[in-house]
Amino acid sequence: MRMKILYVEDEITKNISKLKRLFKKYLNEEIIDELNKIEDDEYGADEKEIERIIEKSDFIDLEYSFQGALDKIINNHEEYCIFIVDRNLSSYAYDIESLKAIDGSFSKIQYEKFREREGDYLLEKLIYEKEDVLNRFYFLTAYSASELPNKEEISKHIDFRKFREENIIEKSNREREQNLISIINNAEILNIHFENKDYIDFMKAISGKLSTSNIVDFVELIRTQYSEEAQTIEMNLGRIRKITEYILSFIAKNFKAPRDRYTKKKEDQIVFGKVVSWLSNKIGEKKEYRLNSNVIIESYLYNIQSICSEFGVHRNESKETSFFPTSNTVKALVFELKEIMLWAKSIL
């Protein structure tokens, strides 16, 4: 899932200020404090220490060696929505053998060809073997785009209009850097992750490491919740239902809901309404709420169940002529879902 920025800079110890400038939005107070301490300390910190601090952010992956960057690009490229790469990564020593262990096609030819422009190799590797990232790949360099040495391959991409000169960020050019900061701050997926971090963290916690489909659904839901397109509204209602059901299943399993709250055919498949009624057990005229739930949770769960079943992807065709929900319904249910998540987080 693309929710991170990969920042590759070999001279990171000299560039702590740049790090703070570029990623200010995504670095919390604790991280900024630690970086400030390093800047204030005459002994400073080494690359590993800076990497450790930055990666606390969840949004930035910092890499200072060519070798490490190559590893990340080969094995984790799909995690990144933006790549920011210092073109010359020769500061941190590397050798052919270690690189070959990561990338079998790396040889002496590549070593010589890409020496002092290792970033070019990372870009080539990505676009020819992994995915087209040209519109979200940025080079940091002390040269301006026009004076860049050995830029034949890059020029080729520019000529084919897949790469723009604006993607080459001259290090001392404040205007170019400001543009990059604006791109970083406005990266849609990254913003969704950043602004919904608590909910996504909760989803991660209950989904297990391997299952990302609920998180993907949630991010897509947040991204498209303002859409008035009927098909998207249907899809989003389906997503809300699916995520809520997953949360309820998790609660039912963890708090050992009785067997009769599950379907007869599949042992681990809950019956949505039955789990809701288990949470708000009705004894005569009184209701007894379980697991710290209350009328809010009960109402929201019923809302989600009824609306999403009625108008979600498998909606009842006979209801075609009734009032069809707009994005207002989706947005309202997104807020309700978020409240359910906060409640679930509080009891788990």
Binding site: D10, E11, T13, K14, N15, S17, K18, K20, R21, E39, D40, D41, E42, Y43, G44, D46, N88, S90, S91, A93, D95, E116, A142, Y143, E147, P149, E170, K171, S172, R174
Partner: protein, 465 residues
């Protein structure tokens, strides 16, 4: 045919004379042709054309085409002229060689050099009557030279040479022709050599400028970022300003060093070696010690020399202890003790440098300082990558056979590189050049850099004796 005169009045009177003949009934082609040629002479091409048109093209069409083509050529109507000259080549005509020459001239004068080249190389002469007897005198050598010069200007030397070597296929080429071709080829080779030298100088200059701007911009970016943050945060931080100033100092040092390394000559050094009694004079001994101090001081800079600093001072306690002690270190003995304790095994033999003082009126003291600083700093940086017990640095300055020899020798880790624009190397080479020498680098287990230059402190004549 009338003898053509440069005097316009005479020409006009000649035209009138021939016109009279025509009006008297003598309509021979010769009269019209003569009038046409006379009109051309005084630049009246339209009148000339009118008269040419009176010639019967049926009797001597090639002559008609040639003269009409020539007038059109002179009017700058090259395409029409070329069409007429080509018609001649398709006929069995005595005018064929003239037509060939005119086609080449027309192409060249109309800026169509590639067409001229193709015609000259592939179509031109073989179809000419008496081809086997052609020699260079028969062609317009100025046109051929213009064609070659066109390609020389564009760096296409092989093509330029081919323009001349074409003539060597003439069956009965004369010795003088060979000589002329050789002379032209030689001329092109000379131009090429000269342009190659100039272009390699330009390339070298561009490379150095590019490296210099790369270094400076890298440093500037490390200054701009913290200052921008400071500006945004509206909070003063001593260490940030201090680091920014250090960065600015490094930029100043690079630019100064680069600038000075291109200025002056051995004469300036000789002058300053002779005028070495003013207060700003320094002994070579002092210069070397200052250079060493400068290099060691840099090893406490975590921002700009961080990786070397960590090689020497593996944790903050050692760093603080060493820095405290370094701040109190002044004498050579203390420096020696310091580097031996914290950095590397160290030997220095510069006692012969004590008596070699140099003034700074022509910038020699500062130039020597930059030169020694560059060499010593490199050694101090690279020796750091080894384990402590393998680190060794020795510095010496000796006078050997009338020459001053400065040498550093350090142990180093093979294959260990650091990011570099190579500016340090350029600076060292340039200063050596000013001293009429070259740095010598040997890698025989250790890394040895030596610079040997004429002893500036003795009279050269005495030296020869």
């Amino acid at each position: 045919m009338a003898k053509f005169s440069k005097d316009k009045k005479i020409t006009i009177s000649a035209i009138n004379e021939y016109a009279k003949k025509i009006s008297n009934g003598d309509h021979s082609s010769l009269n019209y042709l003569t009038i046409a040629l006379l009109y051309q002479e005084i630049g009246k091409f339209e009148e000339a054309l009118k008269n040419i048109e009176m010639i019967s093209g049926e009797e001597e069409p090639d002559q008609y085409y040639y003269h009409k083509g020539l007038i059109l050529y002179k009017q700058g109507k090259y395409k029409e002229a070329i069409d007429l000259f080509y018609k001649i080549l398709k006929m069995d005509s005595e005018w064929d060689l003239e037509a060939v020459k005119c086609i080449i001239s027309s192409y060249i004068d109309s800026g169509k050099y590639d067409e001229a080249y193709i015609f000259h190389m592939n179509e031109g002469y073989e179809e000419v009557k008496g081809y086997e007897n052609l020699n260079i005198e028969d062609i317009r050598i100025d046109d051929i030279r213009a064609l070659a010069d066109h390609y020389i200007e564009r760096g296409k030397y092989t093509k330029a040479k081919k323009v001349f070597t074409k003539f060597t296929i003439f069956p009965y080429i004369q010795l003088e022709d060979w000589e002329q071709v050789d002379a032209e080829i030689q001329r092109i080779n000379d131009i090429r050599r000269k342009q190659d030298v100039e272009s390699s100088k330009v390339q070298e200059r561009d490379r150095i400028l590019s490296n210099l701007s790369h270094s400076i911009k890298n440093l500037i970016s490390t200054i701009i970022d913290p200052l921008s943050n400071l500006h945004e945060e509206k909070e003063y931080k001593d260490v940030v300003v201090e680091n920014a100033l250090k960065g600015a100092d490094l930029i100043r040092e690079i630019v100064n060093a680069m600038n000075l390394s291109y200025k002056g000559s051995i004469k300036d050094f000789q002058y300053d070696a002779k005028h070495n009694e003013s207060p700003d004079c320094l002994s070579m001994n002092q210069i070397i010690i200052e250079s060493l101090k400068h290099s060691v001081s840099n090893m406490f800079d975590s921002k700009y020399f961080g990786n070397f600093m960590r090689n020497y001072f593996s944790n903050k306690n050692i760093y603080s202890e060493a820095k405290n002690r370094w701040n109190k270190t002044t004498s050579l003995e203390e420096i020696t003790q310091f580097v031996r304790k914290y950095m590397f095994d160290f030997n220095m033999d510069i006692h012969e440098a004590k008596d070699l003082s140099v003034g700074n009126e022509k910038g020699s003291a500062i130039k020597f300082q930059i030169l020694f600083q560059e060499i010593i700093l490199n050694a101090v940086k690279y020796v750091s990558f080894l384990e402590r017990e393998k680190r060794l640095l020795s510095i010496e300055l000796k006078i050997i056979k009338g020459k001053v020899v400065f040498k550093t020798e350090n142990s180093y880790q093979k294959g260990q590189g650091t990011k570099s624009t190579g500016l340090g190397h350029i600076i060292i080479e340039n200063f050596a050049k000013l001293l009429n020498t070259k740095p010598e680098i040997k890698q025989n287990g250790n890394y040895v850099v030596s610079i040997s230059f004429r002893n500036l402190w003795i009279n050269p004549r005495k030296d020869q004796k």
